[in-house]
């Protein structure tokens, strides 16, 4: 017969050990995924990957058109999505306050942040691809820009809220109109945080596959025309990884490694650049 005290202690030890075990489980899973990715990916990264086009079935080739396509689509998605997220975030932080409109926007934005990306792809298919009759780089960029907005909006609002009210008051007391206070004082103070938001948004969309399946699709050839279907890394990974051809599968691993490295590096930079201003 164990005493109540021993029983409590045993339960405590058991549950805390379980916490350590599951934390180790999480870390092992991350390690497993990264080991597989680096192991398979590095073998197949060579000069051809960066110089040749995506090959037809059974032939060897590279990824250059997909790399350029992803860069272009991501660039335009960020270019479209950022101003919207930025201005909307500014409204919520500077003008909206706690009113009903702002609360609604904030609420909907948080839902949009986690909404299924595939549905966004279908939406853009319905408004752009279907009326135009063909897939295009623009449709891909618009779909991804809808995913950029909530990330940028959220970080912008959070960052602007960190700027002390006294700074705004000081500028206003000197006679600066409200828009100048916001642009010249508040934005400047919150700049590093806002850039973090931009990096996180870019990282978020770079590896997104589902919305591009129905919008940008793929293109085996070199194309810089945003009005045409455009090669891009995620869709190449999807198609090649599930193909029976070994050359294609190898390229898929190389592409997967490149995308993951870019995304992880952007995430880490974003985290570190965010740490600095708060420690100042």
């Amino acid at each position: 017969m164990i005493s109540k005290f021993t029983k409590r202690k045993l339960i405590n030890y058991f549950n805390l050990s379980a916490s350590i075990v599951v934390t180790a489980f999480g870390l092992v899973m991350l390690a497993w995924i990264l080991t597989v990715l680096f192991g398979k990916g590095f073998q197949h990264i060579n000069w051809a990957v960066f110089t040749q086009m995506t090959p037809p079935p059974g032939a060897s080739g590279g990824l250059i058109n997909a790399i350029v396509g992803t860069l272009l689509i991501t660039f335009f998605a960020v270019l479209i999505g950022t101003p919207i997220g930025l201005m909307a975030g500014t409204y919520l932080a500077e003008f909206g306050g706690k009113g009903r409109f702002s609360s609604t926007v904030r609420f909907i934005n948080d839902v949009l942040l986690s909404a299924p990306s595939i549905v966004v792809g279908v939406f853009v298919y319905a408004i752009l691809v279907k009326p135009q009759g063909h897939f295009s780089g623009w449709a891909g960029a618009v779909a991804l820009s809808i995913l950029v907005i909530p990330v940028v909006l959220r970080t912008t609002e959070d960052m602007l809220r960190l700027v002390p009210v006294q700074m705004r008051e000081a500028a206003a007391a000197l006679g600066a109109p409200r828009y100048k206070v916001t642009i010249d004082i508040v934005y400047k103070a919150a700049l590093s945080g806002m850039i973090t938001g931009l990096l996180l948004a870019t990282a978020r969309i770079m590896g997104e596959t589902a919305p591009l399946l129905f919008t940008g699709l793929n293109n085996q050839f070199w194309s810089l025309d945003m009005n045409q279907p455009m090669a891009n890394m995620p869709v190449v990974i999807y198609q090649y990884a599930l193909s029976p051809y070994e050359d294609w599968q190898d390229l898929a691993w190389a592409a997967a490694l490149l995308i993951t490295i870019s995304v992880l590096v952007m995430n880490i930079i974003a985290r570190y650049s965010l740490k600095q201003p708060s420690s100042q």
Binding site: I84, P116, Y179, L213, A256, N267
Partner: protein, 325 residues
């Protein structure tokens, strides 16, 4: 006109320019904020419009029939709906205890030099693109699982009355269960980081009074921290659930994409998102409309789940503000 009068006029002029620009700036900001609402509304409306032929043709039977026959234009959404619910349920059942343990470890147990690295490592799990989980799941996890854990589970649990039927299936690795497991790993970082943030803001005085009364760490967690953060923890779990339901690429790789209804969790299946990813580009007419109808339902379900999550999180925030004042 005297010099002073002129000065005043110039002054008034610049001031009114400021007023105008203020209005323009505020108006633009407002318009873009409103755009967020418009985008959400437009997604709902467009999806419903494109899905309408299916709803009109099949009515409510679309929701509860399981036949998905592209050749004869007969579509019922039961299999993908059940698949979505079951995979995300498995994900939550596995993911929540693990996230809870991770949050306890980072927030209460880890020495301070270990907190940050472990926290960042877990959050990196969230940054890995969905499609990478799919490749890893299909080429590495699924074969390993089919050769080790699955036979073990079938041998030991397959004979148990009633629950035994859930642990049946061919040893091919791609299955409803595999999809649920991969989803669990994908939602762990989201749930764990919300739980950790919640645990960190529990007032030290509360925790320390419990310790002073002789509580063990586990009792502090179970009887002080958890009741205090209940709403937030539930919110975090709902958020994870919403994420799991909408996840596409990883699931499309490992779920097996079979539109047949099986009770065994080790049989291949399909979810709403995986079905859409698979069939969309070859679809037309009623088939296409049915896929969009699936998407519409997915959007509505996740919208409800995520709204509920947000509501719980807001409730905790409010109660904490109440404590501070």
């Amino acid at each position: 006109m005297s010099a002073t009068e002129k000065d005043i006029k110039v002054h008034l002029h610049t001031q009114s320019a400021g007023v105008i620009w203020d209005k323009v700036f505020k108006g633009t900001a407002f318009a873009f904020a409103a755009m967020v609402l418009i985008v959400m509304l437009a997604i709902m409306v467009m999806l419903f419009k494109e899905a309408w032929p299916t709803f009109a043709h099949f009515g409510f039977s679309f929701l509860y029939t399981s036949e998905w026959d592209v050749v004869n234009d007969k579509f019922g959404a039961l299999v993908p709906i059940v698949g979505t619910l079951v995979t995300s349920l498995i994900a939550v059942l596995i993911g929540v205890p693990v996230s809870f343990g991770i949050a306890i470890f980072i927030s209460l147990m880890a020495p301070s030099w270990l907190k940050r690295p472990v926290g960042i490592a877990i959050e990196l799990l969230a940054a890995v693109p969905s499609i990478i989980y799919g490749m890893w799941g299909l080429f590495y996890f699924a074969p390993w699982f089919a050769n080790t854990i699955q036979p073990f589970m079938t041998d030991n649990l397959g004979g148990v009355p009633f629950i035994g039927q859930f642990f049946q299936g061919p040893p091919i690795g791609v299955s409803i269960f595999t999809a649920g497991f991969v989803l669990a790993i994908m939602i762990i970082p989201f749930i764990a980081s919300i739980m950790r943030d919640m645990f960190d803001v529990v007032p030290t005085a509360l925790k320390e009074s419990a310790y002073a009364m002789g509580s063990t760490t586990w009792e502090v967690v179970w009887k002080v921290i958890l009741p205090y953060t209940k709403a937030g923890v539930i919110g975090g779990i709902m958020l994870g659930l919403g994420r799991a339901m909408g996840e596409t690429m990883a699931v499309a790789f490992v779920v097996g994409n079979s539109l047949e209804l099986n009770t065994g969790l080790f049989y291949p299946g399909a979810t709403i998102a995986s079905t859409m990813a698979n069939e969309f580009n070859e679809a037309s007419g009623l088939h296409m409309s049915s896929l969009i109808a699936l998407g519409f339902m997915l959007f509505v379900i996740t919208f409800l789940v995520l709204s509920l999550a947000k509501w719980f999180l807001l409730r905790l925030e409010k109660s904490q503000q109440g404590d501070e004042t």
